[in-house]
């Protein structure tokens, strides 16, 4: 019995990401991992909230943050989450080309978000002299938002690697779970951003 037969059935099941034991294991294991990631970000949020008033000079959240840019970033990332849902929808319908297309759009939106974030950090550092070392608030801000940004970079690299690797051979029961958990990761990044948007930026402007 060769693997190709098992992994490339004539009729793909409805949930290709959970059709094999390996797939099911990955599915549950990744949800568990996201549980741990939640504690990781909760700890970072707690640290940020404890240090948000430890500013130096006039570099306070009210002074620094501009909601226009953050609004654009939020829209980019929320939309990218939606497009990754479309990609998974097409995966379940076994339409590999459309899945790749929507994943590609997801990646572009993610890159747009990342570009804005890099511009934002650059702006703070060069216009305001607000750095990682300038105050405890600075350390906490760059660590929390930077950890999220690092997750975005990792998520994008992951999705791109999967897309390139499977470009030619299409979808099978071996790579479907990989695509699926990469999209779970992407959703998680989006959820964390919603909290960052609220706790860091909105509360920073009005709090």
């Amino acid at each position: 019995m060769s693997h190709d037969d098992v992994l490339n059935p004539k009729q793909m099941p409805h949930d290709p990401e959970k059709a094999t034991l390996e797939g099911k294991n990955k599915f549950i294991g990744f949800w568990m991992f996201l549980g741990g990631e939640t504690v990781l970000f909760a700890s970072l949020f707690g640290t940020y909230l404890a240090l948000v008033r430890s500013t130096s000079g006039e570099n306070t959240p009210e002074h620094l943050f501009g909601l226009e840019l953050v609004f654009i970033m939020t829209m980019l990332l929320l939309t990218s989450s939606l497009t990754s849902v479309y990609a998974m929808y097409h995966m379940k319908n076994h339409d590999f080309k459309k899945m790749q297309l929507w994943l590609g759009i997801t990646v572009l939106l993610g890159l747009g978000f990342l570009g804005c974030e890099i511009y934002e950090f650059y702006h703070y550092i060069h216009e305001y002299g607000f750095t990682f070392r300038s105050s405890a608030f600075g350390s906490a801000f760059y660590t929390l938002v930077g950890f999220h940004g690092g997750h975005v970079v990792f998520g994008l690299s992951w999705i791109v690697a999967l897309m390139i690797r499977n470009q030619k051979r299409g979808l099978n029961l071996y790579n479907a779970p990989k695509f699926y958990i990469a999209s779970l990761y992407w959703h998680f990044i989006d959820v964390v951003w919603v909290f960052i948007f609220t706790v860091v930026y909105l509360m920073g402007k009005v709090g």
Partner: protein
């Protein structure tokens, strides 16, 4: 491909086999050997501490070296000895107890081990590069952030790497227990050791990320100039204490819960009785795990969180005594009326009950926030946590090793030597730590390098040191027993203890695919049920068929090696930018290996059923 073939090719092939193995039984061996090695190092450090405190005004080692000793003793014993020894037991036993052929993620299992080992090695390299960490195992800021040299940097990087390994191991066991149970093995039929492994893994999953963040903040402060714990720039040191204990308190339950499970299995087996109050035991375990997350601030009563916070944490801490008490009584009732066989494993288990109860009692004393102001940072605390950790965890590891040794290595540890190791260790343990409660009440602070003549502390400390030597003798006899057993003892049968659970239904040691046919579980203590109905083995749940096995891989080793190299880079880039090359090389190796893993298909292989019939070593 087969592991059996590789073993016949001499030492080099065997080492290569162990470096690349993804077999949970071999990973258990790796955890046991390296955890045992670190246990001996930590024990040596303990002996040096006790020799230094043997008499007043002693100058056996310098004050600075003493700080390094206590820091490394605590850190080594918790992270590098107790944790991996527990992981050794989990790896050796849990898949067998649930009737699985391997864990859910064999590759990640190997990665978890290598991360732990390289993290532990990194931490211990500090001894040879200008000084070990010296800010206590709790590493409180600002003592840690201002500690000179690179010692604390090693602490931060070493624990970060090995902590990642532990987290991966925890997720692996969660998914294994959720997804890989044999047909009929419902949650409420799982052996207690599997249950406690399950709850422990939940604790690992939700506790370790807090440590990860704490270590990152500490790393940023020490190596990249951030200001989290720097009060002059608006930082706050209490954040470290919170993050450390949000991880640290669940950690003590991570250590003790699996051994609670082991004791349950052992006491039930050697009393020839079903575990008394099985479901109460399960729910007590869950409750302890849950409450374990609500009590961290009892380590911080003297910080000044205020009377309301202190009261809440005092009450929640005392509440944990209730499920723990349930467990103690259930063990006693399991033995009551049983046909007790006093094997070495049972001896350690019975000794555990009163020893741990004393530790629990002093725990409730410490939980009284008002009284804690008196006990805080004295030897009373040292006495307390050694009663629970040695009296609970170490006794448990000894018991479990005696119990499962035949399953891990195919031979029953010599019983006479087992008893002979027990008595000096048991007596030495109480001699060492009981008196420390009184030393603490008399005002002896912990972590002090020495004490003066005429403070009435000399006699107590001498007694404590004598006890420590007895414990060392017990440990040495146990080590001798391992060698003696390997040379002299005969091959063990599949079921040397007349066991009750699935691991005793397959040969000692099991074939690399564990179960030729997946067993059918028909109730709690499945093997016992079959025995009572007059059958030889467990009823299979499937016809003989091909078995799918995972491929060995060297990638976990390379990923961990990469982080090890990058760790040095991070530590020394403070001195010279050229060290960023090491960061780049190390991270390149790690990320490159991860990419390889993601892109290269690894489908495993099949053992054909014809081969299974020929070998006939299934059962």
């Amino acid at each position: 491909m087969s592991n059996a073939i590789a073993q016949q090719r001499g030492l080099g092939a065997m080492i290569w086999d162990y470096i690349t193995t993804v077999d949970h039984k071999k990973i258990a061996h790796l955890y046991l050997v390296s955890g045992g090695f670190f246990f001996l190092i930590g024990g040596l450090e303990a002996m040096i501490i006790r020799i230094q405190l043997m008499k007043p005004d002693n100058e056996f080692i310098s004050a600075g070296l003493y700080n390094e000793m206590i820091t490394m003793h605590g850190t080594t014993m918790i992270f590098l000895a107790a944790m991996p020894l527990i992981f050794a037991l989990m790896n050796a036993v849990v898949p067998l107890q649930i009737g699985a052929r391997d864990v859910a993620f064999p590759f990640l299992n190997s990665l978890g081990f290598w991360l732990f080992l390289f993290g532990g090695l990194l931490l211990n390299v500090s001894w040879f590069t200008g000084g070990a960490p010296d800010a206590g195992w709790t590493n409180y800021a600002p003592l840690s952030t201002t500690s000179a040299g690179h010692g604390v940097d090693y602490y931060v990087m070493g624990l970060q790497i090995s902590g990642a390994g532990t987290l991966i191991g925890g997720i692996n066991f969660l998914v294994t227990i959720i997804n890989m149970r044999a047909p009929g093995m419902t949650y409420m039929r799982m052996p207690l050791f599997t249950w406690t492994t399950f709850i422990t893994s939940v604790l690992i999953l939700f506790a370790f990320p807090a440590l990860t963040v704490g270590l990152f903040l500490m790393m940023f402060d020490r190596m990249f100039g951030s200001a989290f714990f720097d009060v002059t720039a608006g930082g706050n040191e209490i954040i470290w204490e919170h993050l450390f204990w949000i991880f640290g308190h669940p950690e003590v339950y991570i250590l003790i819960l699996p051994l609670f499970g082991a004791f349950s299995d052992i006491i039930s087996t050697f009393s020839k009785k079903r575990l008394f109050g099985y479901s109460a035991m399960v729910f007590a375990t869950v409750l302890i795990g849950f409450l374990g997350f609500m009590v961290w601030a009892h380590h911080m009563f003297t910080v000044g969180l205020g009377p309301i916070a202190n009261s809440i944490f005092a009450v929640s801490t005392m509440a944990i005594a209730v499920p723990t008490g349930i467990k103690i009584f259930n063990w006693l009732f399991t033995m009551w009326g049983g046909s007790i066989k006093m094997s070495a494993a049972m001896l350690w288990s019975i000794a555990f009950i009163p020893s741990f109860t004393i530790g629990g009692m002093t725990g409730v004393m410490l939980a009284s926030a008002a009284a804690d102001y008196q006990y805080h940072d004295t030897y009373f605390v040292v006495g307390h946590f050694h009663y629970v950790i040695v009296g609970g965890v170490v006794f448990g590891i000894f018991a479990a090793l005696h119990y499962w040794w035949p399953k891990m290595f195919g031979k029953v540890l010599n019983e006479k030597l087992g008893h002979l190791a027990f008595w000096p260790f048991f007596i030495g343990f109480h001699l060492t730590f009981f008196i420390q409660h009184f030393l603490g009440l008399m005002g002896m602070p912990r972590r002090y390098w020495t004490y003066f003549e005429g403070q009435s502390l000399a006699t107590g400390n001498m007694i404590s040191t004598v006890g420590a030597f007895l414990m060392a003798i017990g440990t040495l006899i146990f080590l001798y027993n391992i060698v003696y057993t390997a040379i002299k003892e005969p091959q063990a049968s599949a079921d040397p203890w007349d066991g009750r659970t699935l691991e005793w239904s397959i040969p000692s040691t099991p074939p690399f695919y564990n179960f030729k046919q997946t067993p059918l579980v028909r109730g709690l203590d499945p093997l016992w049920i079959e025995k009572m109905e007059g059958r030889k083995g467990v009823t299979p749940a499937e016809p003989l068929g091909d078995i799918h096995m995972p491929n060995a891989s060297v990638l976990p080793f390379l990923m961990s090696l990469g982080l090890f190299i990058a760790g040095f880079g991070f530590i020394y880039q403070v001195d010279h930018n050229a060290w960023f090359i090491a960061v780049a090389v190390g991270m390149g190796l790690t990320l490159g290996s991860m990419l390889t893993r993601s892109l290269k298909d690894d489908l495993g292989y099949h053992i054909h059923k014809e081969d299974l019939v020929e070998k006939g070593d299934g059962k």
